[in-house]
Amino acid sequence: MELGVKDTKLHVKIKTKKNIIEKMKKQKTLIIMSIPFIIWVAVFCYAPLIGWLIAFQKFKPAKGIFDQTWCGLDQFKILFTDPTFFIVLRNTLCMAIINLTFSFICSIGFALLLNEVRRVLAKKFIQTVSYLPHFLSWIIVTGLVQMILSPDPGIINQILLGLHLISKPINFFADPKYFWGIVGMTNVWKEVGWGSIIYLSAITSINPDLYEAAEIDGAGRFKKMLNVTLPGIKPTIIILLIMNIGNIVNAGFEIQYILGNGLIQDVSQTVDIFVLKYGISLGNYSLATAAGIFKSLISIVLIFIANRFAKSVGEERLF
């Protein structure tokens, strides 16, 4: 009996091997079509991963990557004893958390309120307006922020002056205490409409019977929004929250890079700016790569934690 089973297994193995070669012959065109893509992804997506070795070397750009002096974890030691690195790490995490919280609450709130707009045409118009900033580049958005917050005075200073809340225009870009708020608000302005799309589509799939039942119980529209719509999109909220956790180390780069200046650099510089400054401007490739790797590691750990968490609350996993 047992021998027979083994025999058929072997037979199947030989057969599948033959099958694979035959299949490959049959799918010649598909294989030829995919070769350029394999080469491309190897060169442009996976070759840079070899570049992580730079972090363990004293890298000199003139020499090839395998002819460098190795230095073990020295670069990481330098990195973790550099007080600037902790400042940029703190800035990155704080700004990312502010951005995430602000844009989450605002997108959900906006979706809920937009859902209450009853005129179809008005709703369409508001939606169109709300997506627009998403497609403008960060450069343009930063330019607009400079304009409205300008101490020249821009509109915000004019309003504050008009309400007699301040006696002279505030220079928002010279005072460290405003910077994180500016970044957070700009992020909301740019992404709130786009972020709400997914919630709006989740709202449309809520069972209409629930609203009817709530109505019979005497709930007004505000109560229905709070007790039917909001719980209805809760699964979507949780999934998106989890998906965004891996992004916590990405606080953005453009707005901090452009608006940052000597007066506020202690709050404006992020890990990416640190990498750019040390790596490209100062030519210290190894230290900058080490900082980049550290950032990627945090991100990977966070994604795994999020994935675990998603599994434990019974939501769909990401991968």
């Binding site: 442009f44 343009i140 330019g143």
Partner: protein, 298 residues
Amino acid sequence: MAGIKKRSRHDKIWDTIIGIFMAIFVVVTLYPILNTLAISFNDGIDSVRGGIYIWPRVFSLQNYQTVFHNPKLTQAAFISVSRTVIATVVQVFLTAMLAYVLSRKEFIFKKSLSVIYVLTMYVNGGMIPTYVLMKDLHLTNNFLVYILPGLVAAFNMIVIRTYMNGLPDGLVESAKIDGAGDFRIFIQIILPLCKPALATVALFIAVGQWNSWFDSMLYCAQSPSLTTLQYELMKVLSAATQQGGAGTADMVKNSGSIVTSQSIRSAITIVTALPIIFLYPFLQKYFISGLTIGGVKE
């Protein structure tokens, strides 16, 4: 009866609150854009007095004339347009080809190749290793650096493949019986049927290309003839926060001081945003459909 009346009054109050909120929202979203537009069309010296909101006070085209007569900016605009057009055409075609290969259920490397590509969404080498690679490949100060590194994006591939998976299987099978090869089936049968998905992906790529500036700064800063419009705007803006408008100083000087750095900045901002603001209302539906297709992961 009384209950219904009470409820409808509540409804009215609620409608008013929503209406006011949405009105504020629309104003807050549009005001910065309209304000910049107004200042860009206003006389530069007059703008310094302040008080311009959404309509120019002293109408002038001087700012735009200064911008369009600046050879650096026109060259940058040319580069931006070229990279957008070339990259969109090439990338859409290649992304669709990969999507076709990976949509063929019988393809033996379907699974492994898919995983290799999907992983690129999560793992990347980071700024410095990529920079070193580009340098080694002689792609720095080279126009190709705008096209090659982003040739195929996994997300776009998934969008097109999801659409292809929705097409009936019989299409490919009957074409095969007629003796057509895979490449011909892809070009002549599948590609024309995927137009909506291709349009969506084309728009994602085009907007990304038009808006990108970081590659320009990182790889092409030393060759002034290869910089993009967004990067030139970025230089002007960051000079404005740091040294009070030095970035436009030469332009202001050359124009015989009819324009100011603020009005020039507005004009450049509008020129850079124009293609998107202009095309956006027409293309909106493709963006949205792309987002919903992309959301359906396998």
